[in-house]
Symmetry: C2
Subunit: 250 residues, 2 copies
């Protein structure tokens, strides 16, 4: 276990927290990284607080490095959750207090405005680590997730909504797939995020038209049936597409 040895709430800004929806892709399924709370055994999104001298982005990066052991994670701020009632009527708060991290209870009893981030990571490279308040850190498939503490399920759904939007004007995949991947794998990723099936041939045509893929001379063998080509991203064009978007619109 690579938990923090002490929870130093003294260093953090009051009232502000952040929650991260970490997406990964494995077994043709979209996964989300969750923590199991030590006491109530409820599941939660990884989150944290903001130190006095760091930006939200730095704080999110720090938290995600602690939870996944990864650097350079794709991070996107998508919404702030500020309902005054979002955290004060939930047993999870008691759980945090029970943790003993904050003896006088003043830290967890305050109201938090939480900034939501979603992250896209390479499933195979992440090494899930629980935090001070949890005893387990695991990937869960979307359909396995029924309840989460506080408003975390709402945060997860909003993140997914935003990820689906991103799909429509920015490339996706570099952060979620291994370096080399097949067209069917990329398509499955899209289908999983969107929750619907796409036409194989039209998908390929559209995807290739973005000019962000490089087809390798290699094929992926081992599976039954015809061996598909391997692709990798053209990083230069991928970055351009991230900046400029994929569609013109007006």
């Amino acid at each position: 276990m690579n938990q923090e040895s002490k929870f130093q709430y003294e260093k953090f800004l009051n009232h502000i927290s952040l929650d991260c929806v970490v997406f990964g892709f494995h077994d043709n399924q979209l996964k989300v990284l969750l923590l199991r709370m030590k006491f109530t055994k409820e599941w939660a999104l990884p989150g944290g607080f903001v130190k006095e001298d760091e930006s939200l982005e730095s704080a999110a990066t720090r938290v995600l490095k602690e939870r996944t052991c990864l650097d350079n994670i794709f991070l996107k701020q998508f919404k702030v959750f500020s309902d005054p009632q979002r955290s004060n009527t939930n047993p999870a708060v008691q759980d945090l207090i029970d943790s003993g991290a904050n003896p006088d209870q003043s830290w967890f009893n305050q109201r938090f405005i939480s900034v939501g981030y979603y992250a896209l990571v390479d499933f195979s490279k992440a090494e899930p680590q629980p935090d001070y308040f949890s005893d387990l850190c695991e990937w869960k498939s979307l359909n396995e997730i029924n309840t989460l503490i506080l408003d975390h399920l709402q945060i997860l759904n909003k993140a997914l909504e935003n990820l689906r939007m991103q799909l429509n004007y920015q490339p996706i995949g570099y952060n979620l797939l291994p370096d080399k991947f097949t067209m069917p794998e990329l398509q499955k990723l899209y289908e999983t995020i969107l929750g619907k099936e796409l036409d194989r041939r039209n998908f390929q045509r559209k995807m290739l038209s973005y000019n962000i893929l490089i087809r390798l001379e290699e094929r992926k063998t081992g599976g039954a049936h015809k061996a598909p080509f391997l692709y990798e991203f053209n990083l230069e064009n991928y970055q351009k597409a991230l900046q400029n978007g994929l569609y013109g619109g007006w």
Copy 2:
């Protein structure tokens, strides 16, 4: 002057502020509502703080009602600005301190994480009101705005970027135009936001295809040349389009 008689910083959450980029449309130009600081005479975005029992949305709504005398303003949260250095190296802070609102200076010397909102309002119905720290509240055209306090120019630019994005998947205009308007006026609004010209005939065809417009039997007379039809929005379809978006994407 309809200023607040007292600045009650005691009631607000520490470290959290909000800034609003209020867009209006007048004389075929996109306008932004700005405040002139009492002492330094620098210009700033309208902003405020969050009371202990209100959400960010409520706080933004409250602030905008104070600045424009309008209810039911279209509001959209677009980004949080959290650079630790964003406010502590700027003369504007001294200006706020000089205001005397907070004698021990503890309030304005703290670090603020600011949530950015943009608002779309009917120019002709807003009644600009300065706040406790400003002596003037005025509409400014985008090209008139060169410098703003703190990182407000950056906030403005990000808001504009987001507004341009919104144009590509949601209808716009109901909040910015009077109840009845002409097609050329609507087109000018789009052109102003996008900063580029559009083909008159293609614009009309595309806009009508959304089914959010109702053409009235009336025409707008008074201008030289042929009188254009007046339109109004079909509110039911407009709301649907806001929810579902205008384009399919994947």
